[in-house]
Each structure stands twice: as structure tokens, then as C-alpha cells.
């Protein structure tokens, strides 16, 4: 595109992370800071009878012990369903039931052990399907009293936190036209976001009533808004400080535990209070990712056209539903992959259970959905006797023509869904059978999955940006987006460099934010950062440039349209020797006699999504997102029937979008691929029969290690841009992990003829299913391992 900075693999500007002097919230301390320690309940569901803490108060250094009674109100994101500390009942094993604040963490931990609680155990409900039964124990008896957002539909008297509906066409008519129908239930367990930086929050209340908080979060403005709303504070009296974030993956979107240190500080005369979680606490006190049941019935005509899809999606939301109610909206409004289906009928439920609370996770339910729906696609193709790639191409959405599941006609520059599938197939050498290894217990197969996603956000999710020109022609950029490793600030700097013709080194985008000093952005989620901030920033740069031109036009006595900005200078068009540098006019241009015009130049720009609308509550009809990124992933796997392990030998990802920085996109693709593969193969939160989480640690919650990364990862951006996106670029962050569990399951089926409907596809499951579905394979392996002689 003839650009100098945009589209180039420019190294990240946040190199202080490598140097070791990057500052994270966990590093932050304040003078006079005191420590809070939470105390948890060892029951999944129990009535609290009595809490005794006089012994705890006697420990030297202890300032206070708090219980639920000290905070008689609820907080929450979309529904106020969360106690500050458990009141009346504990709702899950590990539910904070009391807290100690002390001068030191040592004293706090010592005192915490001395707290005693009496309970009356209640029967817990530990499975989402059980929770839907009419006689199931209720997690929240007073659901009818809870305040909630208008687009959330809780059902008082049940465990349903929300119910979302999507209706397109006429489902009965659809199935009556179907020649082949595939019906399955898929299951995916609760998992954890697995970020490295445990959560921390440090809060203080100043004498003027200002509440200040430093915490590990993705979105400073969301924390401010939710904190102010939950605690009834004026927005401007809440100042949220954002620092580098050591990973979020959705688990640090919205309000986390910030209200706890804030409330404690309020009770302690404004003293700074630090609540830091260790790894176990992070598993029990932070929200994890929901579990899923996907019931799917999909019909297709004999010529291979998808005609009807009926889905019932049940999300195990745990004790508090946080963002999971909105994740239900995400899978409810996009109940199938990037294919056109005339008749669609879907219900999505988020259901309370007595498990750990759940919230957002990278991909917002769609990786989970595509595991199920891309399995459906392969199973349908098999029944039809059609090639899975050909079957997908026959049904894939066509920009400008297709009507989506939410009855939106796809804009003509929406992207290249078919191209992504075709290219992924080409790169994995689809159609060429994999070379089988010499060990007769290893089997190889290929699999593919397609995906699409746009940000799941309110129709008014806004962003803004400010660009300040400095004395020497350098630039400070102020944005509200969080930096959590995704690299948005580098990409934004590239845009500034391109637009002003100045080197990257002359641009600063600080990683720190404070909500009273940077312009607003709704949230750093949904792969929306670059798309939204990018547009706001381009408008801010336009604003700045018009001010530059105005000054230069006056200096050169020409019209403003006769000024162009190049290489950090404003020049007369056609006379590149007639220029003033940006430095000369940054603070006001001064004539030789001292007269000055202009003034400090500051550009401002805003963005709100265009055309997006609120879904109809009965049908889901809407334009839910300002863009969709389309793509496909393909893998070649090797299944080892001695170990039961599945190894991804080669992973291919194709995205339809252009890249502002191909190196950053590569980082996202590699990270997302490793994460998606690992979730497909290993990750699960395991609960015992009493609802106790058994693996709250990295020993048994298995994250991928360096040696687990596939040897061959290939990715390609097709460069098909959307016109209103910054340089055409759409979001990629979450997209990079969406296809993997589905593609791997399809590849396993092609390798060993075993169909899987559950995650993770761990050794236990592989061997169990081989025994059920293909026992002769194990006989073959036994035979091959016979000792000769």
C-alpha cells in the first residue's frame, strides 16, 4: 500500500518488559499500605450460622476482621448477584466468608487461621443440566431482587441467570426440507484463563473522597464505571490506575475484586489496602471460564446445503455469572460457524451452579461453540459423502449477499470467508493423505475448522484518542486501551508515524493509564482495541493535521489544502523546500518579530461503532458487531495409542484481514494457537463430588510448556480490508485461538476413526474412546509390540 510504517514488522515499543523494568500492578506499593487476606469456606453450599473472630482480632498488627454483615449489598457486572463477602449462604467451595486486614501479610495470615465459622450444609448443585431441573437446589433464592442490565433475562425461582433467544426463518420448515440430519450433545468443562500475573488491587480513599485504585485489569474505564455504579460513587471521584497487565485473556475484563480493597480502605479511614492473590487464591477468588453443553441438531439438503440448525446451549456459570451472561449472548447470537443457514433456532442459557464463578475468556464462547459446530460440519460432510472443505465452501457466508444468523446482510467489504478456507486447505495440503509414521501405534490425520467473530459489545461501545505535539516535534498519544501483551500500542504508534511522517522513536504511548488523565475507551476486550482506538486515533490525527495546516497556510499565505505534511514537516504542495517543521509550530509558531500564532497543538478523535444495533429480545435480529474477522485453521495431528497423547505436527492459520504489523499478528497467532491447542487437549478445572476444585495450581491445571509448541506453525493474512477499519485492519487477538479444538477433533477422527464430542481430548479420553469405538486398533498395537524370539 505504499506505506512506510503500517504493514511493516516493526518491533514492539514496550521493550521495557524484556529489560525487566516494566511495572505491573503487582509491583506497586504505597506508604502505609496494609494487607487484606480472605478466608474461604470449605463447603459448596451451606448456610452460615455464626462467625467467630475475637481470637483473630488479638493477633498483633491486626486492624480489622470483616464479614458479609459489614457490606449488606451486592455488586456485579450485568447482574448484581455477588456478595462482597458471603452473606447468609456460601455458594461455592472457596467462597470468601471473612477477611482480615493487618499491618503485615504475616499477621493477616496468622489471624485468618483463627477465624471460626459454623455452617449448616445444604445440598449443592454441581452440574448445569442438573441445575435446570425443576427440583434442583436454588443457588440464588432471591434472584427476583437482583438488579440487572436490560439485555439480561434472569428467571427468578430457577437457576437461570439469563436466557437468550435467536429465531431466523421457520425451524420446522427447515428440518422438513433436510435430507440429512446430525444431532449431538457436546461437553466442555470449566477452564481457567491461566494468565501469569495473579490478581492484585491496591486502593486508598483520599481526604477529598477520591477513591484511587491500582489493580491488574484489562479495561480501566470499565473498572471505574462498575466500581462507581456498584458503590454509588460519582464517576469523577473514582480514579483507576492501569499498569502493564501480565495477561488477561478475558479473565480480567470488567470489575474483578477492586471493590474489596476499596471498601476496606473506606472502613479504615482511607488507609491504602492491598489485596494480593496467590495462585490458589486466584483460582478460587477470581472468575474462571464457564463449562458448556451444546445440544445441536443440524440439517442439510442432499446437495450439501445447510438448511436448518437448532441449538440449545447451556453454560455452567458457577456461583456468580459475571460476564458469562454476556457470553451466553455471544453464542446465542452467533449459534453456528461462518455459514449461511436459512432456518436457525437457538436458545442459550447461563445457569448458576455451586461452582467457582465464571466470566469472559478469550474468544467469548466461540472457540467452545466452534468445537461443536465444526464437528457437526465434518459429521454432516461424512454422512453426505462430501469433502469437508468442499462442504464448507458450499455454505460459507458471502459478503454483500449472505444473511447472517442475526438476519444482517453482510456488508460487501466484510472480508473473505471462502478465501480463508481455501488458503488454509492449500497450506495444509488438503487432499494429500498424511505420511504415516513407521511406528505402527502412531496415526496421523488432518482436520480443518472455519471461524468468524466480531466484538460482542454494546452498540455504543466508544473509544477516543488525544495526540499532543511536543516542542521538538515528538508526539504523546493518549488512549484508554489496556496493554496486556497484545501489542496494540505498537500498532497505534505505527499509525501515528505513518500519518505524520515521523519515525516511531518520536512517538510515546505510555503503558500507564489513569482514568482522569486519558480519554475514554469502553473496554480492552473482544479484539476491538486496534479497530476502535485506531479509528479514534486516525480522527485525532486528522484533527491535529488540520490544525497544522491552518498554521502553515497562514505562514505561507496559501490555502490550507495547499499544505501537505511529510517527514515531520508542513510544506507547500509542489514546493517541498517551503516547509516548517512540526517542532517549530508545536507550541505556537513565532514570527521573527515575536508575534505568535497557533498554540500548543492537540488533536482529538472519537469512535463509536456504526450501524450496530440492540438485538431483538425474541429473535436476536440485529447488527451485533462493527466488523467480523473471518478465518480458518487446519492441523495435522499424530495420535499415539501407547501414550494416548495427541501431538499437533503442523498448524495452519489464515485470517482474511490485513495486518498493521505482521510481527505482532504472528505473536498473536503463535500464542493463540498454543493456547487453543492446549485447551483442546488438556485444560480442565476438575471438581470432586463435593464441588471442591482439585487442581488450583499449575502442577495439575496443565498449561502448555515450551516443548509442547507445535514445530510447524504457518499463518497468512489475506489482506482483504474493511473500508472503515484503520488501514483495513480488523481484530485478530481472540480469533487466533478459535478453530483449534474443532480442527484437532476432526483430525483425530480422520486419523483413527474415533469421533469425539467432549473436551479436553486428553489421553484418558482418547484411550477410552478407542476401546469403545475402534478396539481393533489396540489389538493391532499389541501385535506390533510382540517380542520376537
Amino acid at each position: 500500500m505504499g506505506t512506510k510504517y503500517v504493514g511493516k514488522p516493526i518491533p514492539r515499543i514496550d521493550i521495557d518488559k524484556v529489560a525487566g523494568d516494566a511495572e505491573y500492578a503487582y509491583d506497586f506499593t504505597l506508604p502505609g499500605m496494609v494487607y487484606a487476606k480472605l478466608v474461604a469456606a470449605p463447603y459448596a453450599h451451606a448456610k452460615i450460622l455464626k462467625i467467630k473472630y475475637d481470637e483473630a482480632l488479638k493477633v498483633p498488627g491486626v486492624l480489622a476482621v470483616f464479614t458479609g454483615a459489614d457490606f449488606p449489598f451486592k455488586v456485579g457486572i450485568y447482574a448484581a448477584d455477588r456478595d462482597v463477602l458471603a452473606r447468609e449462604k456460601v455458594l461455592y467451595y472457596g467462597h470468601p466468608v471473612a477477611a482480615v486486614v493487618a499491618e503485615t501479610l504475616e499477621a493477616a495470615e496468622k489471624a485468618a487461621e483463627l477465624i471460626e465459622v459454623e455452617y449448616e450444609p445444604l445440598p449443592p448443585v454441581l452440574d448445569a443440566l442438573e441445575a435446570l431441573k425443576p427440583d434442583a437446589p436454588l443457588v440464588h433464592e432471591k434472584l427476583h431482587e437482583y438488579k440487572h442490565a436490560p439485555f439480561i433475562y434472569p428467571k427468578p425461582g430457577t437457576n437461570i441467570a439469563t436466557h437468550l433467544k435467536l429465531r431466523k426463518g421457520n425451524i420446522e420448515e427447515g428440518f422438513s426440507k433436510a435430507d440429512v440430519v446430525v444431532e449431538n450433545t457436546y461437553y466442555e468443562p470449566l477452564i481457567s484463563q491461566g494468565y501469569l500475573e495473579n490478581w492484585v488491587g491496591i486502593a486508598r480513599v483520599k481526604s477529598d473522597g477520591t477513591v484511587e485504585i491500582w489493580s491488574s485489569h484489562q479495561s480501566p474505564f470499565a473498572v471505574r464505571n462498575l466500581l462507581a455504579t456498584s458503590l454509588g460513587l460519582p464517576i469523577h471521584k473514582v480514579v483507576v490506575h492501569h499498569m502493564y497487565l501480565g495477561g488477561g485473556f478475558g479473565g480480567k475484563a470488567g470489575l474483578l475484586l477492586e471493590h474489596i480493597p476499596v471498601l476496606f480502605s473506606m472502613k479504615l479511614g482511607g488507609r491504602p489496602v492491598r489485596l494480593e492473590l496467590n495462585r490458589e487464591e486466584n483460582y478460587f477468588y477470581m472468575a474462571q471460564r464457564a463449562g458448556y453443553y451444546f445440544k445441536m441438531k443440524t440439517g442439510v439438503t442432499k446437495d450439501g446445503k445447510l438448511i436448518a440448525h437448532k441449538g440449545e446451549y447451556i453454560l455452567d456459570a458457577g456461583a456468580y455469572a459475571d460476564y458469562t451472561v454476556n457470553v451466553a449472548r455471544s453464542v446465542g447470537l452467533k449459534p453456528f460457524g461462518p455459514y449461511e443457514i436459512e432456518h436457525v433456532y437457538a436458545d442459550a442459557y447461563a445457569v448458576y451452579t455451586n461452582k467457582i464463578p465464571t466470566t469472559a475468556f478469550r474468544g467469548f464462547g466461540l472457540m467452545e461453540l466452534y468445537f461443536a459446530s465444526e464437528r457437526q460440519m465434518d459429521l454432516l460432510a461424512k454422512k453426505l459423502g462430501m469433502d469437508p472443505v468442499e462442504f464448507r465452501l458450499k455454505n460459507v457466508l458471502i459478503p454483500g449477499k449472505s444473511i447472517t444468523h442475526t438476519q444482517e446482510r453482510l456488508r460487501e467489504d466484510a472480508g473473505d470467508p471462502a478465501g480463508a478456507i481455501r488458503e488454509a486447505a492449500k497450506l495444509i495440503e488438503w487432499g494429500k493423505p498424511p505420511e504415516q509414521p513407521k511406528e505402527p501405534w502412531k496415526f496421523r490425520g488432518k482436520g480443518i475448522a472455519a471461524f468468524w467473530k466480531g466484538p460482542v459489545q454494546p452498540s455504543n461501545a466508544a473509544s477516543s484518542a488525544i495526540v499532543k505535539l511536543n516542542d521538538d516535534g515528538s508526539v504523546d498519544v493518549l488512549v484508554g486501551t489496556g496493554e496486556m501483551g497484545q501489542g496494540t500500542i505498537t500498532a497505534l504508534a505505527q499509525i501515528v508515524a505513518e500519518e505524520l511522517g515521523i519515525p516511531i522513536e518520536k512517538i510515546r504511548i505510555a503503558p500507564e493509564r489513569r482514568t482522569d488523565m486519558v480519554p475514554y475507551t469502553w473496554q480492552t476486550v473482544g479484539s476491538r482495541g486496534l479497530f476502535s482506538e485506531g479509528q479514534a486515533l486516525i480522527r485525532a490525527l486528522e484533527d491535529l493535521k488540520s490544525q497544522i495546516k491552518k498554521v502553515a497556510a497562514q505562514v505561507f499565505r496559501v490555502f490550507e489544502d495547499q499544505i501537505e505534511i511529510r517527514d515531520g514537516k508542513a510544506c507547500v504542495v509542489g514546493e517541498p523546500w517551503e516547509c516548517i517543521s512540526l517542532a517549530e509550530m508545536a507550541l505556537g509558531y513565532m514570527y521573527p518579530n515575536g508575534n505568535t500564532i497557533g498554540g500548543p497543538l492537540i488533536g482529538r478523535g472519537s469512535h463509536v461503532p456504526v450501524r450496530t444495533s440492540i438485538p431483538d429480545p425474541e429473535t436476536g435480529k440485529s447488527v451485533p458487531a462493527p466488523f467480523y474477522t473471518f478465518g480458518a485453521g487446519a492441523v495435522e495431528v499424530e495420535v499415539d495409542l501407547i501414550t494416548g497423547r495427541v501431538k499437533v505436527l503442523k498448524a495452519v492459520m489464515v485470517l482474511d484481514t490485513p495486518a498493521i504489523n505482521p510481527m505482532l499478528v504472528a505473536g498473536q497467532v503463535y500464542g493463540g494457537t498454543v493456547m487453543g491447542i492446549n485447551i483442546g487437549l488438556l485444560e480442565e478445572l476438575k471438581f470432586d463430588k463435593n464441588g471442591r476444585l482439585m487442581n488450583p495450581n499449575f502442577t495439575d491445571y496443565k498449561l502448555a510448556r515450551a516443548a509442547d509448541i507445535p514445530e510447524e506453525m504457518i499463518f497468512k493474512c489475506l489482506g482483504v480490508g474493511q473500508k472503515d477499519a484503520p488501514y483495513g485492519a480488523k481484530g485478530v487477538g481472540e480469533l487466533t485461538m478459535l478453530p483449534w479444538p474443532g480442527a484437532i477433533a476432526n483430525a483425530i477422527a480422520n486419523a483413527i476413526g474415533v469421533e469425539l464430542y467432549e473436551l479436553p481430548m486428553k489421553p484418558d479420553k482418547i484411550i477410552e474412546e478407542v476401546k469403545k469405538q475402534r478396539p481393533e486398533l489396540l489389538e493391532k498395537v499389541r501385535e506390533a509390540l510382540k517380542v520376537k524370539g
Binding site: 501407547i642 484411550i767 498395537v781 524370539g789
Partner: protein, 298 residues
């Protein structure tokens, strides 16, 4: 994690303890004798400190033996065997030529034990004293017929490694005793060994670990076959009957089939957070088959 009565506290900090760093073994043994059940030995600390933070162990006294020179022995005597002192780290063993050449099965196990960072701190003796059923070094030491040298203020004693483990995380050590070294005799002439570790990801704990040692497979008179396993019983186990079995002058194919049956019958895996009983049984069978084929035919 301390689940005292009615609450859980997930501790960030270690419990309070008194710390000693003796310079001599005698000093360490005297401290151990003085504090008996209230003291723990600290070597690498990769198990002890974790257990202390989790409040699984709360010693009042911690005796750090890393300052005792005589416990840092790593000595090979031709024709006799290898002595590995209590503070010798796994990383030191991994970089030792004798271990790799003479005691390959042990080297193979250490190579797969934990990760690079932990191996720089963790010790072989610590791995044994922690007595985890999943201890990677244990099956290798069992097939190598290692001996454990134990000391207390009352003197020293030596036990066979197979008699050292009592139960999950329990050894035969008396409260005033500590392991000073492990002695591994010269392996049988021509012995080859392998440690097969079943894992979920790279650098994992063993779902099942199988060590096999084979010498002179084609010669019934001189043939030695030993198999030991981890993570399939309350302690690491050696299936001693396998060695007897292979002394018989029968076709290898037949003996191997019988050995697989024998191994399966001598283990009792359970379902836990890491794997199901069924998967472990599969691993025991197919892992044993794989090792026998590789080592007997090779």
C-alpha cells in the same frame, strides 16, 4: 492450604520455623536428634518448601544440609559402584559422564524429572526421601538395586531401596535419622535400561513411570530383566517376580507375554486428578510391552 475446622486459608507465606545451617554431619544429626519429629531436613527444598507453604508440613525446625561438605560426595569406584551424597543435585547427575554411561536408566529418569530450573536445586536423595509414589528416580534406583545409607546419632545403617518406601510420602526413616547418600552397585555386565514416563505435557509429573533394565537377553543363563514402576501403587514398586521369570529357558516372546501379565497383576493404580485408573492400566500394559520389545530385541 490449611483446612482447619471451618475455614480455608490459602497461604502465601511459609509458616514460622527456626532455621539451622550446620557445617558438619555430626552437628546436623545432633540437631535432628534433639528436635526429632519437629525438624525437617532441607536440601533442594523443591518439595519441602512447597509442602510448607501448603501447610502439609509444618516443622518447627528446618535443618539446611547444603553447607555440609561431606554430603556433597559424588564418587564412582570401578567394580564397586557409585555413591551419591545427599546434597548432589539432579543437574549435577545429569551432567555426569559416569551416570550417563554406566547408569543410563537413572540418567534417563533424571532427564525427565521436573524441569531445568528445579533440577538445579532438587537432589536425588530428596526425591527419594519425599517418597512420592510418582518419584521418577525411584523406579530407576529400584532396577539398579540401589542402597540407601542412613545415619543418626546412634550410628549408621544401610537398607535396600526396595525396603525404603513405606507408604505414600512415608519412608522407614526414624525421626532422628537422615539419608546421607545413595549407593548404586555396578550394574550387570552389558545392561541396558530405559525409563518410560507417561505425561500430559512436557515437564509433567509421571502419570505412570516404568523403568526397565535388561542384560544379555539372548542368554537364559546370564539374562537379567528387571521392571519397576512409579504412580501405580502407594509407593514406587519393583516387580521382583519378573527377574525370576526371565531366568527360565523359554522363548522370549512367551516370557514377555507372561511378564506383561505379571506386571499388570502386581500394580494397583487409582484414579486421581492426573489420570484415570483405566488409563494407568493401559499405560502399564503398553509401556511394559514397548520397553520389553525395545530392550529384548535391541
Amino acid at each position: 492450604m490449611a483446612a482447619s475446622k471451618s475455614i480455608i486459608v490459602f497461604h502465601t507465606l511459609l509458616p514460622e520455623f527456626e532455621y539451622f545451617r550446620p557445617k558438619t554431619l555430626q552437628e546436623a544429626l545432633e540437631l535432628l536428634d534433639k528436635y526429632k519429629g519437629d525438624a525437617r531436613i532441607l536440601a533442594g527444598g523443591t518439595d519441602l518448601l512447597v509442602d510448607m507453604r501448603m501447610r502439609l508440613k509444618q516443622p518447627k525446625y528446618v535443618i539446611d544440609i547444603k553447607g555440609i561438605d561431606e554430603l556433597h560426595t559424588l564418587k564412582y569406584e570401578e567394580g564397586k559402584g557409585l555413591t551419591i551424597g545427599a546434597t548432589v543435585t539432579l543437574d549435577e547427575l545429569l551432567n555426569n559422564k559416569i551416570v550417563k554411561e554406566k547408569y543410563y536408566v537413572l540418567w534417563d529418569a533424571i532427564r525427565q524429572l521436573a524441569d531445568t530450573h528445579l533440577r538445579m536445586k532438587a537432589t536425588l536423595v530428596g526425591n527419594i526421601c519425599n517418597a512420592s509414589p510418582a518419584a521418577d528416580s525411584a523406579p530407576a534406583l529400584l532396577v539398579l538395586k540401589a542402597k540407601v545409607n542412613i545415619a543418626s546419632v546412634n550410628g549408621t545403617r544401610t537398607v535396600e531401596i526396595k525396603d525404603f518406601f513405606k507408604w505414600v510420602k512415608k519412608t522407614i526413616l526414624e525421626p532422628n535419622e537422615m539419608v546421607t547418600s545413595i549407593f548404586i552397585p555396578e550394574p550387570p555386565e552389558g545392561a541396558k535400561g530405559r525409563y518410560l514416563k507417561f505425561v500430559r505435557s512436557a515437564e509433567d509429573l509421571a502419570l505412570v513411570g516404568i523403568a526397565a533394565l535388561v542384560a544379555n537377553p539372548k542368554d537364559p543363563a546370564k539374562r537379567i530383566v528387571r521392571i519397576a514402576l512409579s504412580s501405580v501403587a502407594p509407593t514406587p514398586v519393583i516387580v521382583e517376580e519378573v527377574e525370576e521369570l526371565f531366568k527360565q529357558d523359554k522363548p522370549l516372546s512367551e516370557l514377555a507375554e507372561e511378564a506383561v501379565k505379571l506386571v499388570k497383576s502386581k500394580v494397583s493404580p487409582i484414579t486421581d486428578v492426573r489420570a484415570t485408573k483405566e488409563l494407568r492400566e493401559h499405560m502399564v500394559e503398553f509401556g511394559t510391552r514397548y520397553l520389553l520389545k525395545t530392550l529384548l530385541e535391541g
